[in-house]
């Protein structure tokens, strides 16, 4: 053990402590409330007299959590795949070709990055209602893909630019076609950028609220955030123990994946953000 590092560690943790307490507070609230028996939920005491694990199974049965989980997985998964599939060629085009309209396209992406769905929600609702597709999860996917394209193209493009052109040219010289070069030489090198972009897109879609709130009417098409929101919105009595259990179950898997991939995010975002 290194004495200097020990002192530095102590100071670092001490300085970070206030932030970490505030960060962990909502998780503590979720966990403790989710473990309280119904009779003690409204009692403001911190600790329950007994741990009531049944809240989780009861929550699953009474709130339709499973269906919402399925919807969220479907919407986020499909959004991620489609976004990547659409963004890769565009990013490749932007990083490897000079063409008329290139900067116009980049500006168009910038504007679409600026316009979050909420600004357009009235128009989007009319569009979707006009074609009679309210309550369709696939429509949600299309909207999410469209709003994630700008950021994804941006991220991928800045990463693609860092991949040396020589590698592709060498492959062409050896007689590989453009397509084969792309698939066997270029894309494998771009995997880190694609992973970061995919995580971002997935989390954006997983957490999106306002479009889901507007487009989904029937409870069985609700996504997770909407499901949890609907458990507290406009009700006279709220079963907070179930709400917190649902929030906890919905948050933990994403938090774990996130913690696991966090180091890639730092690198990927650094590359994508500034170049």
């Amino acid at each position: 053990m290194n004495r200097k590092k020990l002192i530095r560690s102590l100071i670092s943790w001490l300085l970070l402590a206030p932030v970490i307490i505030v960060v962990l507070f909502p998780f503590a609230v979720m966990t403790i409330t989710a473990l309280k028996p119904a009779s003690e939920v409204l009692d403001p005491a911190w600790w329950p007299s007994q741990v009531h694990w049944q809240n989780f199974t009861e929550m699953w049965q009474t709130t339709g959590f499973g269906a919402a989980l399925g919807n969220s997985l479907y919407v986020s998964g499909l959004t991620t795949i489609l976004t990547i599939l659409v963004a890769i060629p565009a990013a490749y085009g932007l990083s490897r070709y000079r063409f008329v309209g290139r900067s116009a396209f980049r500006q168009f992406l910038l504007v679409s990055q600026m316009l979050s769905p909420i600004v357009l929600v009235i128009g989007l609702f009319r569009l979707v209602a006009g074609v009679g597709l309210i309550d369709s999860l696939n429509v949600l996917v299309v909207i999410y893909v469209a709003f994630n394209i700008a950021f994804s193209v941006w991220m991928l493009q800045s990463y693609f630019t860092t991949i040396p052109r020589d590698l592709e040219e060498a492959a062409w010289m050896e007689g590989a076609g453009h397509w084969r070069t792309l698939v066997t030489v270029f894309l494998p090198l771009a995997v880190p950028a694609m992973v970061v972009t995919a995580i971002f897109t997935f989390i954006n879609a997983w957490n999106e609220f306002v479009i889901a709130l507007t487009m989904l009417r029937r409870e069985d098409s609700y996504t997770l955030p909407l499901r949890v929101f609907s458990l507290v919105a406009g009700r006279y009595t709220v079963d907070w123990q179930y709400v917190m259990a649902a929030a906890l179950v919905a948050s933990i898997p994403v938090a774990v994946i996130f913690a696991w991939l966090q180091r890639y995010l730092v690198r990927g975002l650094a590359l994508g953000a500034v170049k």
Partner: protein
């Protein structure tokens, strides 16, 4: 097909999709904002700028406009001010750094809606755990009704806004700090520069582009941020925590004033465009210096 068509084919799918989902609704909003619209969305007479006049005569709108400014500036500035030191600490080599990074990033993984739901419960006046926690620590004597009054609800929402914006911002800064060469600091230390000098002359300038990008992205996100306020107070009590997005949503989907709501959308669009142009100008001028 010649080489020259290739880039267009490559960008076409993304352009088509983004254009359909963004330009079409934008066109709808423009035409809604200059027509008389009934609550079922049927457009009637052309009314020019009437909706805009209605809005600017509406004290609730003006209040929401100012509150949006306060909200955006407080959250963005608060986030940047907290994130720089946090990123600098997390960039140091210390025991448990990996864990500390994960803890700080955690709010990012939880959806804003869930975070807001949890805080709404934690801030509950009678049974909320914030009150009981503060009482146990002896910091307050009686329960505070956090969300019943804008004077406590809105600052709390700003704090939560800062808290959830920190992870993304810290991540950008960590990326920036990792590109600062270590020997620059060593050289400065040999020259006798103190910690503050090193921060001012090395860290800050090198972090500058990252601060810029974090500033712009955060401003856009925070300005457009809906779930925190909608979930916690729905803009209440009595519209006293409304910002433009929640006001827009109420006008459109609660009150059925679609024309006015469309006009709010366009005003927001205008503000964002102006902000972006100003930023791009400033950034370009800096690059020339």
């Amino acid at each position: 097909m010649g080489r020259s068509a290739t880039p267009y084919i490559l960008i076409f799918p993304s352009f088509l999709l983004a254009a359909a989902v963004i330009l079409w609704p934008l066109k709808e909003i423009v035409s809604l904002s200059v027509h008389d619209v009934n609550r079922f969305g049927i457009m009637r007479d052309f009314v020019g700028l009437d909706h805009f006049r209605t809005l600017f005569a509406d004290p609730d709108f003006i209040a929401a406009l100012w509150r949006t400014l306060l909200w955006t500036v407080s959250v963005v500035v608060g986030t940047l001010v907290c994130s720089v030191p946090i990123a600098m600490i997390l960039n140091e080599d210390f025991y448990g750094r990996g864990l500390a990074r994960i803890l700080i990033m955690l709010p990012w993984a939880v959806s804003l809606t869930m975070t807001a739901v949890v805080w709404r419960w934690a801030l509950n006046g009678e049974s909320g755990m914030l009150n009981s926690g503060l009482r146990d620590l002896g910091l307050i004597g009686t329960n505070i009704q956090w969300l019943a009054d804008a004077s406590t609800a809105f600052p709390m929402q700003i704090l939560i806004g800062i808290l959830v914006s920190i992870p993304f911002t810290v991540t950008i800064f960590l990326g920036g700090l990792s590109s600062v060469p270590e020997d620059l600091y060593d050289a400065a230390a040999i020259e006798g520069a103190g910690a503050w000098d090193r921060f001012r002359t090395i860290t800050l300038p090198l972090l500058r582009p990252f601060i810029n990008i974090a500033f712009v992205l955060n401003t856009i996100y925070v300005f457009n941020s809906f779930p925190i306020i909608w979930t916690m107070t729905q803009g209440g009590p009595a519209n006293s925590t409304d910002i433009l997005v929640t006001y827009l949503y109420k006008l459109g989907f609660r009150l059925g004033r679609l024309g006015d709501a469309a006009a709010v959308s366009l005003i927001m669009f205008g503000i964002l465009i102006v902000f972006t142009i100003v930023y791009v100008r400033l950034a370009m001028r800096e690059e020339q210096d």
